[in-house]
């Protein structure tokens, strides 16, 4: 049973479609980077996977069970606004979240919080810094002993050191328990270190879905003369052209033509290429 399967899922807010006709399957044990421009529908997609956003069309299933209306017991979700009870202390919060779960490991929470520097268990959650709150929220998510971890922008308000700590915790979780992770982020360099699968969404649709190595191998960046692009074959994703030379991102490119220089893109330039293309389409 796959941790997450989307079947033509769509979500409309009033007249605007946040997610439209998305279908994909996330295989067990993958660490998936969910990327896309702001407003692409990443948070909506994760919310639907967690069962707190109701799809307008289609549906998602976690481990074979439809997710609408309730969170699957094997799924943990970290929302973008890190919903935590701010008037409770970290210790009380741990007890509170534990009492709302059938399967729960306080030891796991303490273990995770122990790996993080400077979390005072008797401090009110509301007095913690945004970064520490995020780390506490991740600890709570891991206390559920999930098989699928959904993280919406887990790194967004962390300083570089905390980011490193947090990524290490996620990686340890994957290594120890074989947890499948789907995380959305704009920090592509960080994602590259931990993720092995990419799901690129834009305008509510899936643009790229696959293992990062394969996806990168399928794309080429060609740099060549601005004057003549006729010899280039393949699906053009995006291009930046100056007076002298063109830089093209191509999918399923044919062998590099004469006069052009071809390289395999890295994750960052691949995602940048797609984001640029979407911005131009919208213009």
């Amino acid at each position: 049973m796959n941790p997450l399967t989307a079947t033509a899922v769509g979500k409309r807010y009033r007249s605007r479609w946040a997610v439209r006709d998305c279908s994909f399957t996330i295989p067990e044990g993958k660490v998936v980077a969910l990327v896309g421009p702001n407003g692409a529908g990443k948070s909506t997609l994760l919310g639907m996977a967690a069962g707190i956003v109701r799809p307008t069309t289609g549906g998602l299933s976690a481990f074979g069970t439809p997710t609408a209306g309730r969170t699957h017991p094997d799924v943990s979700y970290l929302g973008q606004n890190r919903s935590l009870y701010h008037d409770l202390t970290v210790r009380e919060l741990t007890r509170a979240v534990g009492s709302m779960n059938d399967r729960w490991s306080t030891d796991r929470v303490h273990e995770v919080l122990g790996l993080l520097t400077g979390v005072d268990h008797d401090a009110k959650v509301g007095t913690l810094s945004a970064g520490t709150r995020t780390q506490v929220a991740i600890a709570m998510a891991l206390g559920r002993l999930p098989r699928l971890l959904l993280l919406d922008e887990p790194l967004s308000d962390l300083d570089p050191l905390a980011r490193d700590e947090t990524l290490r915790i996620i990686m340890t979780e994957v290594a120890d328990r074989g947890t499948t992770v789907v995380m959305s982020s704009h920090l592509l360099t960080d994602l590259r270190e931990v993720c092995d699968h990419i799901l690129l969404v834009d305008e509510g649709r899936v643009q790229v879905d696959g293992d990062i190595e394969e996806v990168l191998a399928r794309h080429r960046i060609l740099v060549g003369p601005a004057a003549d692009e006729s010899s280039v074959e393949g699906t053009l994703v995006s291009a930046t052209r100056t007076a002298r030379q063109s830089t093209l991102l191509l999918r399923e490119a044919a062998p590099t033509p004469k006069g052009w220089e071809g390289t395999e893109p890295d994750l960052e330039s691949l995602v940048m290429g797609y984001l640029r293309a979407s911005r131009e389409r919208r213009r």
Binding site: I52, S83, L84, L88, A96, V97, N101
Partner: protein
């Protein structure tokens, strides 16, 4: 789960407890000081009976001047407590979670939304009802001490007495609380929920005031003209009164007015006999009053409570439904 709800509700519960302690202290002190003043002015007799002497006695007048406002404030506290509970405990209960997004934390754990809702409801509502009932009992105890020298002289059907007796306050509280909870879930705004609760509660309390007495069966008292029905003098609730024709049917008020006007001419200061005889000649020989005796006030309270209680149950079911639909 109950622990979570209790911990989240702790500030309100502490406030309720403080209200209970302060309220009870104030009532106990006021009552004992009032009791002293009754015994020292030798008014003990006047507490149970309304005699001629009690209504003209100077110390009775002083007592009323001193205590009637305080006793009415005690009544007002119980009149307003239900809507305050609705506003400050019912309305924010779910609205605040939805507003701040903290419902997501609960919704993504394994506890079901219905169980989450029920545990929050129980933890918020039960202590509020306990405090309400305790304060209601204390105020009743205080008012009873003043007896007929206090507001109770007006009988159980008088608006302020009715609103603080029997199960009515509990039913009002349930209703106000349920409106707050429901509107809070639907609008996801605490302030909106509070305003709607205040509005809905006030409107309904005014609108339903005579509905209760209209659905109850009344008793009819008939006396000859010139006398007034006892029901209009004691604490019974008079629904309608007027004159009866020979067939025993009530006469239309405009016809009564014309006949009474015509007979006014025969009225002399010496006696009413001729006036009454004139009324009898004009077919106004008998007066009637349809009333509900004070001893049946408990039935009116049950009707009242079942209306508000049923509305509260509907609203709470609606709250559960809206929370399940919440996304």
């Amino acid at each position: 789960m109950i622990w979570v709800s209790w911990r989240r509700q702790r500030p309100q519960l502490i406030t309720l407890l403080a209200m209970l302690v302060v309220g009870a202290g104030v009532v106990v002190l006021l009552r004992s000081s009032m009791l002293d003043s009754i015994t020292s002015s030798g008014l003990t007799e006047c507490v149970t009976r309304t005699t001629q002497e009690c209504s003209t006695n100077k110390s009775a007048g002083d007592f009323r001047a001193e205590w009637s406002t305080r006793l009415q404030l005690g009544q007002a506290a119980i009149i307003f407590l239900p809507v305050l509970i609705g506003l400050f405990i019912g309305a924010p209960l779910f609205a605040r979670e939805l507003e701040q997004g903290t419902h997501v934390l609960a919704f993504t754990q394994s506890v079901s939304r219905t169980r989450w809702m029920l545990s929050k409801l129980v933890v918020a509502l039960v202590p509020a009802l306990v405090v309400l009932i305790a304060l209601q009992y204390l105020v009743w105890w205080w008012l009873t001490t003043a007896g007929v020298m206090g507001p109770r002289v007006n009988g159980s059907f008088q608006v302020f007495n009715f609103g603080i007796e029997h199960v009515s306050p509990v039913a009002y509280t349930l209703f106000a609380f349920a409106v707050g909870a429901f509107v809070g879930v639907v609008t996801r705004r605490t302030l909106v929920a509070m305003i709607v609760t205040l509005g809905a509660f006030t409107v309904l309390r005014f609108a339903l005031f005579d509905v209760v007495t209209r659905v109850m069966t009344t008793q009819r008292e008939v006396v000859t003209s010139g006398l007034s029905p006892t029901a209009s003098r004691d604490a019974s609730l008079v629904i309608s009164q007027g004159y009866l024709d020979a067939a025993g049917q009530p006469i239309a008020p405009d016809k009564v007015g014309a006949a009474v006007q015509a007979c006014k001419a025969t009225w002399t200061p010496e006696g009413q006999q001729e006036y009454v005889a004139c009324l009898a000649k004009s077919d106004l020989g008998r007066r009637y009053a349809d009333f509900i005796p004070e001893s049946q006030a408990w039935q009116a309270h049950l009707v009242d409570a079942s209306i508000y209680g049923a509305l509260a149950v509907l609203l709470l079911v609606g709250t559960g439904w809206a929370l399940r639909r919440q996304s």
